[in-house]
């Protein structure tokens, strides 16, 4: 039977699903739901049912006949047809498809949709790791790597040519020069390291809605950077008037009531980089999210100096995302833009609501740095 063709049809179907995901990707990106759907390597995405449209009855209007106990008015589980032996192909799916995609694929889709360029890793592009792959055949090698099939084929060839092969008594005896061995080639894999530092203002003016936006945006930024760097490290810094390093969970779930000193976070960030991440070996991505309020008393000037002297020289790109809140003045972005107008490594983005998330991601990642 010749039925291997199903794989091609399956491929076509998956292409269509991929297309659907891409079509709706902006919606997914600005939707928090996806974040909760992440497994280890897979994300489960609900795709609206894919079906060939045809004339059919509206489901709820139709009703039906069932069997079993029950009083009038008692709820029934419709749609549960005794389908133990379902015949092929007549139960069309009204269900929503749950499609599992790898994070890598999701990143690729996002890259296509938002037209993100691949990141050109900075610094030493030195070769840092090798991988051996058995891909060839060689005439010499250790007995353990002997390739039986190839060896016997050589022996058979030789015996046929020399006329020592007897088809009534087909004995094939390899001699030394028939021996074939598996051989490997060494491929070089440039490995580049990157560190991502998330900083967030958790002072009173940042509400749950703002934090949710940061959480969603961070998920997608992670997804993209993961697809670009093999070795990725994360640090999370929260700050109000003082800054401290926390784990991922605490980062997204902390609320303080104090005032805001952004310089505290930048200083901690600079210290972390100074101690652990030599410029030559690491690609550095600090992201800072706040509502743009900073204490007076010259703290903003301290921030600008820290950026100028300590942070910007070390980083690939410094990203500042300003999440609009009812209380925030939004002044900090204006200050940054004013000072670093010509500085390519500084990217700022205004995020008014969830629907701005895709564009904000694009702001941050479209430079390919």
């Amino acid at each position: 039977m010749q039925i291997s063709r199903i794989d091609r049809d399956l491929g076509r179907f998956r292409d269509i699903v991929r297309g659907k995901i891409k079509e709706n990707l902006r919606k997914y990106i600005s939707h928090g739901e996806m974040v909760g759907r992440q497994g280890k390597d897979l994300v489960s995405i609900p795709v609206p049912s894919i079906d060939v449209p045809h004339f059919k009855f509206g489901a709820k209007e139709q009703g039906g006949v069932g069997m079993g106990e029950g009083e009038d008015g008692q709820p029934v589980d419709a749609g549960e047809e005794g389908d133990g032996q379902g015949e092929a192909g007549d139960a069309a799916g009204d269900h929503i498809l749950e499609v599992e995609v790898t994070l890598e694929e999701l990143a690729a889709l996002m890259g296509e949709e938002l037209e993100l360029p691949r990141i050109e890793p900075r610094g030493r592009r030195s070769v840092e790791s090798y991988r051996d792959k058995y891909s060839g055949i060689s005439n010499v090698g250790p007995p353990g790597l002997r390739h039986f099939k190839r060896t016997y084929r050589e022996a058979l060839k030789r015996q046929l040519v020399t006329g020592t092969y007897d088809e009534r008594d087909p004995v094939i005896i390899p001699i030394k020069r028939d021996m074939r061995f598996k051989s490997w080639t060494r491929t070089e894999e440039p490995a580049s390291n990157a560190v991502v530092l998330y900083m967030m203002d958790v002072s009173g003016s940042m509400g749950d809605e703002q934090k949710e936006i940061v959480r969603i945006e961070a998920f997608w930024i992670d997804t993209w950077l993961r697809s670009q760097y093999k070795n990725l490290e994360f640090h999370f810094i929260i700050h109000d008037a003082v800054a401290r390093e926390v784990d991922r969970h605490t980062f997204f779930h902390t609320r303080e009531s104090g005032g805001t000193k952004i310089s505290s976070a930048y200083r901690l960030c600079a210290e972390l980089l100074e101690e652990n991440y030599p410029v030559a070996e690491w690609n550095v991505y600090p992201f800072h999210f706040s509502d743009g309020d900073n204490w007076g008393g010259g703290d903003t000037d301290i921030c600008l100096d820290l950026l100028q002297n300590q942070l910007l020289p070390r980083v690939n790109q410094f990203c500042y995302g300003q999440v609009t809140s009812t209380y925030g003045s939004g002044q900090f972005k204006r200050d940054l833009d004013g000072r670093f107008e010509d500085e390519e490594a500084m990217v700022t983005s205004q995020i008014d609501g969830k629907s701005d998330i895709p564009d904000s991601i694009k702001d941050f990642l479209s430079k390919g740095r």
Partner: protein, 497 residues
Amino acid sequence: MMSREDLRRWQQKIEGHASDAGLDFFDQRFELVDYRQLNEIASYGGFPVRYPHWTHGMEFDRLNKGYQYGLQKIYEMVINNDPCYAYLMKENAVVDQKLVMCHVYGHNDFFKNNIWFSKTNRHMIDEMANHASRIRRYVNLFGLDEVESFLDVCLSIERLIDVHSQFVTRHRIPLDHSRASVDATPDFRYEAKPYMESFINPEEAVQEQKRQHEEKVKASESPRQPEHPERDVLWFMMHHAPLNSWQRDILGMVRDEAYYFAPQWQTKIMNEGWATYWHSEFMTKFVMNDSEVIDFADHHSGTVGGQGFNPYKIGLYLFRDIEDRWNRGRFGQEYDECQSYEKRRAWNQDLGQGREKIFEVRKIYNDVTFIDTFLTDEFCEEHKLFVYQYDLDKDQYVIASREFKKIKRQLLSQLTNAGQPLISVIDSDHDGKGELLLRHTYEGTPLDLAYAKGTLSNLFKVWRKPVSVESVYKDKPIVMRFDGKEAKIRDLASTAG
């Protein structure tokens, strides 16, 4: 697992029992496949070779997931073909293989003898393979995207056929492929030297031919196409839509396949009931050994159990009920008019016509006439049938009634046209602008408007002019028109005149 030899021996045994019981079947072939192969074949509607289309891939994905998560598994798959092919899954237990084989002989007999199957192509496996290779050739010529999206359109309307046209002659005006040809009056004179002209082209003959041609032209310019509402929308599109020859060919193939599958939609309850009746008969009387009783009971109850509407169960018990009634003579005027519950229960005339009757039923009935004729009040009560309806307040389905009349009505309405809306072509020159007008014959259940919109937009792709469908929504007559960009719904009552 059973060896091939064992299976073959069992097949012979079961075939013997089937013959003895009076079943009349095509030569039966079994193919042994693993679950993946079975799912592949099932995705192609039971056929080893079908044309390429993504819907097959989607079905495969669904079946594979269902199997892997342990939600469902296909036990039997059998194809109406001569010889009849059925598939056995390698991984199945011995008792399952036996049961499936018994079951398959029931289907085989049904395919061969039920009148609704009599017009189906009995070499459909070959035909499907032919279709596949023709469509693959078009794919090579015109590209997969082009062909696949045209198939999308065809599949969108594949159920819009006229099943009864197989048995009666419909008056239709077939295609005049050259719509333009009527404009140019051909020259009816043969080429001739001037002195031969009056002999080769006598004036009367030329005039006569001209007259005949003009009549023909007039006839083909019938004021309205179709003359009568046309249920076979596929046929109509083939003959009246502006299609390329390859598109017409594909549409024709999809139509052939639809007519092939139609009797299976029309006889789902009967077909499964019949096969279940016979597997139960053979298994319990001859085939099963003592150690298999529990597994059989388990499997059988899986088949005929469940809460919802189960065609296997209704079919099986209705056949048994008919057999019992005709054995005891519980039919006819005298019985129907008997009012005494006691008397009716004890009714027995020892007629012994049960077997004969069910063989007759399997020959000439389909699901609609089957339910219409044989569903009785007692049966509904005994098997606890009910009607459920959607309750807007509770936002779920609830039991609405156990009244016999309502149950029967609901069943018949959902079996009519195999549960599909009745759609006909009304006019191919709607408003004098060449627009296509369809009508949904409303019988109480409205259309799914989102799907209707998608279907119209697909039809627009082949008709190339606006397409509309008349229907009724919320008790008001409406028409939905798709003009190439968007679908608009118009209230017919308020804008009439």
